[in-house]
Amino acid sequence: MTQSNRLSGGQIDRNTTVNFQFDNHNYTAHPGDTLGSALLANDVRLIGRSFKYHRPRGLLTAGSEEPNGIVELRSGNRQEPNTRATTTEMFDGLEAQSQNRWPSLKFDALGVNDLFSNFLSAGFYYKTFMWPAAFWEKVYEPIIRRAAGLGSLSMEADPDEYDKGFRHCDLLIIGAGPSGLMAALTAGRAGADVILADEDFRFGGRLNSETFSVGDQSSSDWAEQAVAELSSMPNVRLMARTTVIGAFDHGIYGAVERTGDHVATLPAGKPRQILWRIYTKKALLCAGSTERPIAFENNDRPGIMMASALRTYANRFAATASQRVAIFTNNDDGHRTAADLHAKGVHVCAVIDVREDAPVNYDYEVLSGAQVVNTKGRLGLTFVEVALPDGSTRTLECGALGVSGGWNPNVHLTCHQRGRPVWNDDLAAFVPGPNLPVGLTVAGAANGVMSTQGALQSGAEAAAAALELSVAQPVLPEAEDAPIAQKPFWYVEGCKRAWLDQQNDVTVKDVKLSYQEGFRSVEHLKRYTTLGMATDQGKTSNISALAIMAEVAGKSIPETGTTIFRPPYTPVPISTFAGRMKGQEFHPTRLTPSHYWAKERDAVFVEVGNWLRAQWFPLPGETHWRESVDREVRQTRASVGVCDCTTLGKIDVQGADAADFLNRVYANGFAKLPVGKTRYGLMLREDGMVMDDGTAARLAEDHFVVTTTTANAVNVYRHMEFVRQCLFPDMDVQLISTTESWAQYAVAGPNSRKLLQKIVDPEFDISNHAFPFMGCGNITVCGGLRARLFRISFSGELAFEIAVPSRHGDALMRRLMAEGEEFDVVPYGTEALGVMRIEKGHAAGNELNGTTTALNLGLGKMVSKKKDSIGSTLSEREALVEPDVLRLVGIKPVSPEEKVTAGGHLMNTTGPVDAAHDQGYVTSAAYSPILNSNIGLGLLKDGANRMGEKMRLVSPLTDLTVEVEIVSAHFVDPEGERLRA
């Protein structure tokens, strides 16, 4: 295909031709093009359909403010809906599809909505679809949902990678137009650490779109030279294709760098985009300004564009939307477009200038005091109807109409901390208000300085001011310094279907209706009409709509309100915010010291917080997890089992006041614990609920090792630091986590001592007499490896926990297995561990659910009343000590094979089954291969006094009702003889 609308000149690489597809048609383009400019060059004006009425849409702008020209880019699992053609950098092999149309872009069935638009006015859906009531979900809503939406997702996982990074600088300059470049030159030359970021792939901003000169160069050449100088400065980092998306607290800016969107295929390992968090001392917003439209009847046809966009396409991209264009303007800038297009050989039919005193140029016709009152062209502009000052109308045949209603400063980032822009009457526009994010200043057009010369100067001055430079003002190049003359002209009188928000189909009529119905504040207007809620966030529509609302209300614009912008400046892929933290890398994975060994044994692993723990160890031939778990339990209770319990938190507590300190953090007493002994400890939150439980082993007078549950390790450590630093700052106590340092294994079962005796070095006596229940000490194993031994039991069996330096954990596990062969040793996982603790009646995570007190758990006596400990006072509140509070009980089905469901509720055997008669609930359940019965633990009202009572366990959720008996929670060895053996 030929590029029939390609002009001369431009900043594209004509030596290279690339191929691309739009809606399955092949076209050619050049590097330096955007998809938008390439489509125009190929005479494609129709690009999409609007949201509500499915009206034909073409490009409106040449930048990121684009509401209309949005497509589905790429294909397969890289399909990317709602992508702005105007900012999509061309590459060879680019594929794009139009969206929100069916069956085709030219013949869109839902275009019928446009015929019924009068019935689909703003907010019509709030007033109807209410009858019959059941029809909303079944009929109306599905239809609306299918019609709504824009592009579609592939429904496949995003295959690309994304990074996050962190940069620091003295000065972040946002935008590399004239003010940004001049600011960067000023700051860079002064030696400051500068980051200059621009969303475009080419620095220069509007300098690349204009034909005037800066100094003795063309504006784009000047920009190129400035960039060359900046590139040579080691203290300046240039970030092209980087959008600063938000201004966050304390000088932190979010920025998205598109490192891979301009290439067909990413090299392996390289990210598509990087989310940068930029820490700045100062920031300077040089984001320029956005041209605003004028609303007139049928102003939304493909071919009707912002005048400055036509100029950009012609000057920078050497493309035009049509060979015949007209301009509709209320200011001098529109004439610049006409002049530039004319110079490029495009026929300018006329400039329609609403001003009576419009400047007259002899190169083309100027219709002063005229207005566009209507347009024609089903899928693209064909005619423009102009009302002349004498009351007559004239029809112009043209394929493009450039519209210029003046310029709005890009104040977006100044609003991100809820600062409000203020109205400037001279400019007839909002400019940055006084409440800027701390450290941010604004220069150039973004600050209402609209001439090039002014922008250069303001950039230089702002950079110097931000960095408190005392250097002499740099010599600025001479540039265009046209006075600003912006007289507002928002819409053509009498227009109705005159579009403001072109994507969401909000017209002047809708704004008037919104006023009529009382939605008169800006916030109400936006919400009621959906104005500014589209993918462009109203960059070209909000201010105009506000102005029209003001006029309808008979108020000034500032009286009517302002509109503020929220991050992000332009939409950002959700993947970019996620970075690498997805899939398996969502959270770090913590492996236990025996992990590699367990993997060899085909263990099934389970996530416990960030840890992976062996859940059970299936043997060949075992087809159901219960077989493995039952075997592990039986073998442990019959002989000996080994379980990796490294994940339990371990905290080293040292210092002269260590015992006193533990006395404060634990509800039970620790002062009198002898050296060489371990004690179970119960920790409460200050509100009296159980926070955690564990053990504390006293290794020396001033040295304890505390264990926590796996889940609470981090919280308990933080809590202990709080108690140490904030509550008792003069206690001599030091804390450090040693969780990872030690591989710790539970060795449990009647043969556990015998097994351990085979590896513990002979000089250490671990007989029951020398090393009794709750003993602890430093020992060596396997010929001199330092180790720690604790005689504690979670299973209720004779048991030990042995710890060695983590690097030797793998070897120790292998050794225990080898040495234990004669005892038929079994490794057991968390599942068997859970079964045995339920059999023994130990409360664990399901019972320590944050709403249980010591009393609830049957541990009330542990809360010492003789000392001050965290939580003891509030645990005494009246409702927490009422006689019928929940108490931990054992639950046994009357028929052992009947299932006990954790989460089931307990009801009396007779009477209604409902919430009002709820007696409690089952916290944990398991099958006990020892009792050959399902069993459970539960919390039951007044449970301590209901032993032997029959109850109904109901779980309507899983369709279950079971008769159960309330028993002691200690199913196995209630007297604790085994663990003392």
Partner: protein, 95 residues
């Protein structure tokens, strides 16, 4: 946000864990006559000011210091950062 750690200098707030009002340092005397009421107020009632707020932050991914940060809850401006231990001592806490 950035918290200017008194020892380490400016650090991103995401390295810290937030607890709440620095009045949590003022733990009541468990033996006082009105201990139950005092602990209830300590545990549950907050000034929750719109404006200057003294609050506890823990440098979890850093040096494990608890800090008292004075921050405006309407602007997020931080006017002061102290080690909580120093504040606790200044408020008369000891062992």
């Amino acid at each position: 946000m950035i918290i200017n750690h008194p020892l380490l200098g400016p650090r991103d707030a995401s390295e810290f864990t937030y607890l709440g009002d620095a009045s949590l340092i003022n733990r009541p005397d468990w033996q006082a006559e009105d201990a139950a009421e005092a602990f209830y107020e300590y545990g549950y009632l907050r000034d929750n000011p719109a404006g200057e707020h003294q609050e506890l932050w823990y440098h979890e991914a850093g040096d494990r210091s608890w800090l008292v940060v004075t921050r405006d809850t309407t602007t997020h401006e931080i006017s002061k950062v102290e080690l909580a231990r120093d504040v606790a001592r200044a408020r008369g806490r000891s062992k």
